[in-house]
Structures are given as C-alpha cells and as structure tokens.
C-alpha cells in the first residue's frame, strides 16, 4: 500500500543525528567557515563509521551483484536512511558533512564496483573523486586525462579540478580515458593513492561557501599506478555501458545531494521562524494564507516547498532501496532541491534583514553553502535535461 507516513525508525535516525548535528557540528560551523582549508579535527569522532562502506561479496561468484534485500516492515532502507541522515547532518553544517572522514564520493564509487581484493586495499581509505577538468565540466564524457597501460602499470597524465577532500583524502578515484577515440566508452576510473610519484595536489580553491570542505586541483604527470587499480573492467566496448554504469552511481548520490539541500534550507527556515516568533508572529496553520502577514505566508510556502523537496528525495532513495530504476526520479529530486534550496536560503536572509546579512548568525552562510547544491553532482540545468529527455523520450542527440 502506498503509505508516506514515516515509520518510527525514521524518527529514531532523525533524533540521533539531529543531536549529533546540534552538539558536534553547529558549535564549530562558523569556525571552519572562517578557517578555510583547515582540517576539522573534531570530525575524527566519525572515523570508522561505515558511512559509505559495504560488506565484501561473500558469494563464490565474484561477478555477482551483492544481493540486497528490500527493506522489511517498518525498517528503513539504506538509501532512504542515508537521505534522512544527510538532511540532519547538513542541518548542522553542509561543509562539515563533506569533510566527514571516509565518506567521500570516491568511497561511494569503490563501494559500488570494487572487487573484494580492491576492497581489502582501499576499503579503509578516505577516497576523493576526480572527474572535472578545466575544459570538461558537465560534459564529463569529454575528459582528456589519459591512462595508458605500460607493462604492469597504468600511466596517468592530465589535470583534475574541483576535487572535494583533495587535501584530506588518502586516495583519489580519477576518471581518465584509455582510448580517446572511443569517446565515453573509453572512460575508466582508477584509484590513485596519495604519495604516488607524479601525483601532486597543485592548490586548494577559495570558495563562496562550504569553506570547511577542501576543494583542490591535482596534476597527474606520468603517474604510474598498479594495473589492478582500475575500477571495473579495462575492456573498451563499442557501447558506452561502462560510462553509463558510472553515471548510474549518480542515481544513488543525487537524492543525497537533494537531501543535503533539504537540510541546509531547513536550517535557514528554522532560524527564520525562531526570529519571527520572537518578533511576535504566530505559526498555527489555521488561517487562510490570504489573511496572513506576508512573511508568515511566505514562510509557509517555503516550508511546503521544503516538504516537496524532501518527498521527492525520499521517493528516489526509496526506489533505489527497492531496486527500481530511478534515473528520472533522482534527477527530479536534485532539480527541485538544488533550485529551491537556493531560493529558500536567499529569501530567509532577506526576511531576516540585518540578521540575515550579518556574519554574527549563520543565515548568510547557509545561503552561500546552499548554492553549491544546485551545481555539483550535475547542475540544475543538467538535471532538467535528463528529466526532459526521460519524459519526452528524446535521446541526448535530439535534445542537447
């Protein structure tokens, strides 16, 4: 039966995580916004938490996909559970959430496709993800970093920008092409450990928001890594299944980014409500919206949008938990949350007036932090393209 009344397990996760966000993250939120690039040592308590981990494949057939079970009565599936967790943590601080040890995007990629042998070697490392290049942003199929097999080693050359956790990670999952002429089919991902000769962190970026998160540029100059550091098959197929497989990880991560936007926007809304209540405004969901003070009416509308963002994210995550194809729904959730998270945090600052512009409070920070969520993991525009292609049944050639 379709039923969107959240089971008790949801409230349990929320309460626990909110406590953590409130007591561990909020007190240091401003500190690391100002101390850009400094490692938040307080986050060491998260080390060892298997945020992005997975158990080894026990089956004799190593190629078999890990058998997942649909969540049982009143249980929350892994994706939905992560969504709920992420919202709470980002309510605490979004930049710090991106700095939680061993919870990088690279960890997600490793957890998704690594062999048991690779899991043994990389499973305990903090793994960042390097996709973007100076000339290759949303069009990730056009990357020019190369990987060439020489003897028993891959030799990597190129430059990667916008790598989250660049400084703190132990290793980086690097996207590179093994055959430029093969286009997307030639793109593979490789695990490069820090300290490998020819692999250097060039610099860290200074950003609008999520300053607690260290974003950096890597240079790969004849960087040699073991042959078995490639994730997935090295074979270049004529079809782009491999690339599509990589893009599929986005179906799992996009609802998480959407949930991040829900968390940040909720932080802004909670604070705005608190200040409005102090100023004497009443929130009781009783009066006709037309008869409300403009700020209260707008606050309700923003709260309604927040709820819509959350439900779209939960749906996409729930579908992933139930092994349903959720490419469309994942992009829907990210498109909605990225945009409306940005709008909500902007408006909260405006409603708060001087309290929204001062760095004495965090509202201005949430507005800066939120903006990234409509950009990374696919910009809002890319999400709209994906949605439109899906519902209109146009190929990427037909709808560019």
């Amino acid at each position: 039966m379709a039923n969107l009344y959240p089971p008790e397990a949801v409230a349990k996760i929320q309460t626990g995580m909110r406590q953590l966000a409130q007591t561990v993250l909020r007190p240091i939120s401003r500190k690391y916004d100002e101390a850009e690039h400094e490692y938040p040592k307080e986050l060491d308590v998260f080390r060892g938490l298997p945020v992005m981990g997975r158990a080894k494949k026990k089956d004799k057939d190593p190629g078999a996909a890990p058998k997942k079970e649909a969540p049982k009565e009143d249980k929350v599936g892994q994706n939905l559970g992560t969504c709920i967790t992420v919202e709470e943590i980002c309510w605490g601080d979004c930049g710090l959430m991106l700095s939680i040890p061993n919870a990088g995007l690279g960890n997600a990629a490793i957890a998704a496709v690594a062999t048991d042998e690779q899991l043994e070697r990389f499973g305990k490392l903090w793994a960042a993800m390097a996709i973007t290049e100076a000339e290759s942003g949303s069009d990730s199929g056009s990357i020019s970093t190369t990987a060439e097999l020489v003897g028993d080693e891959w030799v990597l050359n190129g430059e990667k920008i916008f790598v989250t956790c660049a400084d703190r990670a132990d290793c980086v999952v690097v996207w590179a092409t093994v055959d430029k002429s093969a286009g997307k089919a030639g793109i593979k991902s490789f695990v490069v450990k820090k300290g490998t000769p020819g692999f250097t962190l060039d610099h860290l970026e200074h950003k609008l928001g999520i300053r607690a998160s260290d974003t950096g540029t890597f240079v790969l100059n004849n960087c040699r890594i073991p042959k078995n550091n490639i994730l997935g098959s090295a074979e270049v197929k004529t079809r782009t299944d491999g690339f599509k497989g990589v893009m599929k990880t986005f179906d799992n991560t996009r609802p998480m980014v959407a949930a991040m936007a829900v968390g940040v926007a909720r932080a802004a809304l909670d604070f705005t409500k608190e200040k409005l209540e102090e100023a004497g405004y009443v929130f009781d969901y009783a009066k006709n919206p037309n008869n409300l003070p403009a700020v209260v009416r707008e606050w309700y509308m923003m709260e309604a949008n927040l709820e819509a963002m959350r439900l779209l994210a939960w749906r996409a995550a729930w579908m992933a938990d139930n092994q349903e194809h959720n490419n469309l729904e994942a992009s829907m959730s990210k498109a909605k949350s990225g945009r409306y998270g940005t709008l909500i945090t902007q408006r909260c600052c405006e409603i708060l007036g001087p309290l929204g512009y001062t760095r004495e409070f965090l509202a201005e920070k949430w507005m800066r932090d939120s903006k990234i969520l409509d950009i990374f993991e696919g910009t809002g525009q890319i999400q709209h393209l994906i949605i439109a292609r899906n519902v209109l049944h146009f190929s990427s050639g037909e709808l560019k």
Partner: protein, 364 residues
C-alpha cells in the same frame, strides 16, 4: 509499511476510475464544459464505483469498508485527470457523507445516510465558502445562534456544489464554541438556493449561492450533537481533497504539454527539442509529482489516524501554487493554441485557479 507504490488493490481501484474517465469523459468533456453541464449518466456510472460510500456501514447503504483517505485521494486524482468539474460533481455527496460518518450521532447517521448512499446518485453537499475578500474557512461569518434549544443560521454561502438538487446541505457556521457544521434539509424554509455561480473555471460544475435567513434547525441537527465535530479535521480532509484534485489537473496538463511538445514541429524539429520548452515540461513533470506526494503524505497521516492539520494545510497551499504554475506552463508550451478553447490547456489553467481559492468542495 512505508511505500511510494500503490498495492494491487489500490491499483485496481485507480484503474477502474481511469478506465471510466478514458471511456466516458476524455472525449466529451470539452463539450460538457462548454455546455456548462455534465452528463448525469456518466456521473451515475462513476458514482457506482463507490468511493463516496465505501466506508459507510452496510446498514446505511454503504460497503462497510475501512475509511481510507489514501483511496479517496487516488480516486479523486483519477477523476480530476479527466476533469475537475467532473471529479467534484461525482464526489459532492462525500462532502456530506464523510463528516457525517465520522462525527454524526447514531441518529443522524441512521436518518441522513441511507437516503444519499443508495445505488442512485443523490446529491448532498457542504456549504463552506462565503463571498467575501477576507473569507477564511477557519472562521466563517455565517452564524449559528442558539435560541430556545434550536439554532438560527444566518449568512451567505457561495460556490456550493450541487446545492440546487441536494437533499441535505451541511452548513459551516460559527458558534460561541467555534465553527461547527449543521445539517440543513433542502426543504428548510430558511434556506434559499440562489442563482448558479458564474466562475472563471469549472464551467461544467453547477455551484450555487446559498442564503440562510432565519434558518432554524434543531439542536439535534448540529453535527455530532452536543459534542459537535472536529471542524479542523473536516477542513484538513477537504484540503487534502483539493490537493488530490490539483494532482489530477496537473498531471493532465503536463501530459498534454509533453505530447504536444513532442509532435509540434517548428524550425524543422519538435519544439520539445529546444531547452526552453523542454525545461518547462521537465518542471511540470516533477511539480505534478510533488503535488501528489504532498497529498499522499497528508492522506497517509490521516489514514494512520494521526492529526494532519499542518500537512493538509501545506499540501493544499503547495497544490494551489504549483497547479497554477503547471497550468500556466501548459498554456505557454502550446503558444497560441494553448489560448484556444478547442485545446484543453486553457481549461486546466482556469480550473487550477480554484485550488487555492475554493474550500470544502472535495474531501478524502
């Protein structure tokens, strides 16, 4: 269990309404809207599917099933996917039956339910809206004064669906104990059903101005007797109903725009291959879904027996805003054709405007 997917039974019910809409409404609704009248035979057929009476005890003419706001929401969406006027007309008796079922005294249920829960569609309705700029369903201007053990109702109501043929009208009126509902029989001399309302949308639905002048009802006609009813719950359910109607209108508008954008060629290619059009269609797609999810969330709360005042309020507010946006985009995607009444987009657009304005015209 928490789930975004309809189960077998819910799908079956949805499909039965969808089929009826496809067979009997889709091709004729344009003419019915233009004529300002719905085909009574089609209403009767939809009535027979039974959503209004499924929770009514068998003794009172119903099916004796558990109350299911989710099921009502699913049916309303399907009906409204065909047409909002049609959805409201078919389920108008629910506006009377549903509050009676939950809050009526045994005597009220036994007396009033059987006449309107039979095989034949017999309208009974709810008078909630009032013709006033500052109208607020939470505090109606219509008054119910207690006098010598009876109530005297006085006030003006508007947009009362099917009032002219209604056997009973449930009237929302303020008392010293806050707003309550009163059962008024069609033959009450203090009840005057006035002219049919002329509205921006919902052409096919007959709604009326209703005047209550020195309208005397006995104390036993206050819904729920001495205890009264949970008026906030009645409002909440009506808001979830409106959100469900909005979900239906919005899906219809989205699908029409989607199909049009795929077929209509300009500059040598379908207009949907242009991002400016494609992005509007994409936004319509997820906002239509979001309206439904908001509606389902509130309906699920009600189904679980939880108070859903906040969820219903937000769902309706969201539905009002986004159905309007979707209707707007729907007309825009069709360009000039969207403005022509031969196409359904302008009807969706007009009907969508009602979601944020009307109160008490649909319920779960």
């Amino acid at each position: 269990m928490f789930s975004f997917e309809l189960d077998k039974e819910q799908k079956m019910i949805r499909n039965s309404y969808a089929e009826l809409v496809k067979k009997l409404v889709a091709d004729t609704i344009h003419d019915q809207d233009e004529a300002g009248a719905l085909d009574p035979k089609t209403i009767q057929k939809a009535w027979e599917l039974g959503v209004s009476v499924s929770a009514v005890p068998e003794a009172c003419g119903g099916m004796g099933m558990p109350d299911s706001p989710m099921q009502s929401a699913i049916c309303l969406e399907e009906l409204a996917y065909g047409d909002a006027s049609f959805a409201i007309a078919v389920t108008t008796p629910s506006l009377f039956i549903s509050p009676l079922l939950r809050y009526g005294t045994e005597a009220q249920k036994n007396a009033c339910l059987p006449p309107v829960c039979g095989e034949t569609y017999v309208p009974a309705t709810l008078a909630m809206c009032e013709p006033d700029l500052a109208f607020d369903a939470a505090s109606p201007k219509c008054r119910a004064e207690k006098k010598n053990g009876a109530y005297i109702l006085s006030g003006v109501k508007c947009f009362v669906p099917k009032a002219k043929d209604a056997k009973y009208i449930l009237v929302a009126a303020s008392t010293d104990q806050g707003p309550q509902l009163f059962i008024v029989s069609a033959d009450n001399p203090g009840l005057k059903v006035g002219d049919r309302e002329k509205t921006l949308g919902l052409y096919a639905l007959d709604m009326y101005r209703v005047t209550l002048e020195n309208c005397k009802v006995s104390a036993a006609d206050k819904l729920g007797g001495d205890n009264g009813c949970d008026y906030a719950d009645v409002l909440a359910r009506s808001r979830v109903g409106l959100a469900a109607v909005a979900a239906g209108i919005s899906r219809a508008s989205f699908e029409f725009a989607r199909d049009y954008a795929k077929k209509r060629e300009q500059f040598g290619a379908p207009i949907g291959t242009k991002q400016s059009v494609a992005f509007m269609v994409a936004e319509m797609a997820y906002e239509a879904d979001a309206i439904r999810l908001m509606c389902w969330k509130a309906a699920s709360m009600l189904e679980a027996g939880k108070p859903a005042v906040r969820e219903a309020y937000l769902a309706r507010m969201y539905a009002g805003e986004m159905a309007m946006k979707i209707g707007d985009y729907g007309v825009q995607v069709l360009g000039g054709h969207g403005y022509i009444r031969d196409y359904p987009q302008e009807r969706y657009y007009r009907n969508a405007r009602g979601i944020a304005i009307l109160e008490g015209v649909a319920t779960v």
